[in-house]
């Protein structure tokens, strides 16, 4: 299933947030979206997932929904969005409960995804007992349980400390190598983008426009820290973003009463 964005433009009140975004995401591809703070990355992702509607433009799907997919467009959130009052397995089972599945089927799916994400030992744990990394793994297990066609990931690693981030990046790469999932991956982190993205979409400051799209044709599995080519891409991206990042950083929030 492919995704197609056409002329997405959006305003919140008087401030234009996104302006004329055209983008195609094809099956099996990870598209990273980077840009300075407040340029509308999260907003764009909400449009793609149908959680909000743009003022102008449209988000289109083409191709058949993979059979068995319970929720073709599935999010992974920055802050995990786990229900703190449900155990790990109940958090996963939550998103299956509204689908016509028997208790046994549900049970089986939950066991399967927890097994596959290495969380079987943590079935009964509550979110507060888990480290950030494990929480995000639970969120990924939950996303996998509905067999998504496209994963929409909004800075999934930025709430984690950098060592955990490294671990999870490895996991995501390994996951992609097996599953070849499609993903829109929003991040601030250029190292993540060059590590995980087949294409990297660079947005400008608000109103977000596409400044450039960088393609990295090195296989995900073959990307290593210290690879000069990737380092070069990363430096280049940083050159592009640096001034805008500084400007975004020095922005003073309007006094909302």
């Amino acid at each position: 299933m492919d995704l197609l964005l056409r002329g997405i433009t959006h305003r919140y009140g008087a401030t234009e947030v996104l302006s004329g975004i055209d983008l195609a995401v094809s099956e099996g591809e990870i598209v990273c979206i980077i840009g300075p703070s407040g340029c509308g990355k999260s907003t764009l992702l909400r449009f793609i997932g149908g959680l909000e509607r743009p003022d102008e433009g449209e988000v289109l799907l083409s191709g058949p929904v993979p059979s068995g997919s319970l929720n073709p467009l599935t999010y992974v959130f920055q802050d995990f969005a786990l229900l703190p009052w449900r155990s790990v397995e109940a958090n996963v089972s939550l998103v299956l409960e509204d689908h016509p599945l028997s208790a046994a089927e549900r049970e089986e799916i939950v066991a399967d995804v927890l097994e596959r994400t290495g969380l079987s030992d943590f079935r009964k744990a509550l979110p507060r007992q888990l480290s950030g990394g494990m929480k995000q793994r639970v969120a990924i297990a939950r996303a996998l349980s509905v067999r998504p066609a496209v994963m929409l990931m909004d800075e999934p690693l930025s709430a984690l400390d950098s060592q955990t981030r490294e671990l999870l990046m490895d996991d995501l790469v390994a996951l992609w190598q097996r599953e070849r999932f499609t993903a829109c991956y929003v991040t601030h982190n250029l190292a993540e983008a060059v590590r995980l993205g087949h294409r990297i979409v660079v947005l400008s400051r608000r109103p977000g426009r596409i400044r450039t799209i960088v393609e990295i044709d090195r296989d995900l599995g073959a990307r290593e820290a210290g690879d000069p080519k990737l380092d070069a891409v990363q430096r280049e991206l940083w050159q592009l973003l640096r001034d805008e990042a500084r400007a975004a950083d020095r922005e003073i929030a309007d006094d909302v009463a």
């Binding site: 149908g50 993979p66 290495g118 490895d170 996951l175």
Partner: protein
């Protein structure tokens, strides 16, 4: 050892469904769960209720015994205004309220800070406060009369006690909730104990203290009626009690409406105070 790379079969093998190859928009599934203000509905509901009520009273559906018509209550209120009694009742009540509430709140903040800051005060006073808080002030009126007389003393004391306890609870809760890293920061820069209390703890507890004030003010207003049970010639509570004993339901409603408006005004004032003192919250 186990990690995401052990995953397999995450996506079902793609047997394409009946769906077309054509483009289709993503389904919208957001929105909701965020009530937006609708203007005019509030006043409209009020007006509608009052109009219906008036119509019911006039037509006799609502017996005069059960509920007087709003117009009658309004008439009683007009009479209060015209005869100049309103101001007399209001000023008597406001004076009691202001004195009792101010003293109760000030004492409450002091004791609440003590409980929030000192282990000994917490261990000694907190159980006492918890035990005394749920005592209905109205039950103590006979004792208050002995202790404070039937003059202003017992009335002010009733309101003072009523506003003291919620303020204590709110204040110490607020102190407990002040971000401890801010306190550690103060210590790490060598701020004195008193500076930390004044510049970090107190402003940090201010939101909780103010919401305690909101509660204690409405408790104070509610207690006006109980406070003015004894020996009060004037006062909104005394007026309501008189209306109740005469079964003058129109006056009763007028008095209750005055208290309700008083409550709204006080809550609005505290809202202003909050906006001013807590402007930093944005």
């Amino acid at each position: 050892m186990t990690s995401l790379d052990q995953m397999s079969g995450g996506r079902a093998t793609g047997e394409s469904e009946a769906s077309s190859e054509t483009l289709r928009p993503v389904p919208y599934r957001g929105g909701g769960f965020r009530p937006v203000p609708i203007r005019l509905i509030g006043p409209l509901v009020f007006l509608a209720i009052i109009a219906l009520w008036e119509a019911g009273s006039r037509s006799g559906v609502i017996s005069n015994l059960v509920l007087p018509a709003p117009s009658e209550a309004f008439e009683a209120f007009s009479y209060l205004v015209e005869s100049g009694q309103l101001w007399r009742h209001l000023s008597a009540s406001l004076q009691r309220l202001v004195i009792g509430w101010t003293l109760g709140t000030a004492l409450g903040i002091a004791v609440g800070l003590g409980i929030g800051l000192f282990s000994l005060a917490r261990a000694g006073l907190l159980p006492l406060v918890s035990a005394l808080f749920p005592i209905p002030k109205i039950a103590l009126l006979p004792l208050f009369v002995i202790w404070f007389g039937i003059g202003e003393g017992s009335k002010v004391a009733t309101i003072l006690f009523g506003s003291f306890f919620p303020t204590v609870i709110a204040t110490y809760g607020g102190v407990d909730n002040v971000d401890r890293t801010l306190v550690r920061m103060g210590q790490s820069f060598g701020l004195s104990w008193w500076s930390i209390v004044r510049k970090i703890i107190l402003p940090g507890a201010m939101p909780a203290i103010l919401s305690g004030c909101r509660i204690s003010a409405s408790i104070g207003i509610i207690l006006l009626v109980a406070a003015e049970m004894i020996g009060a010639e004037y006062g909104v509570g005394a007026y309501i009690l008189m209306a109740g004993s005469l079964f003058a339901t129109d006056q009763l409603l007028a008095g209750v409406a005055i208290l309700s408006v008083l409550g709204l005004i006080v809550s609005w004032l505290i809202g202003r105070l909050e906006r001013w003192l807590l402007a930093w919250r944005g």
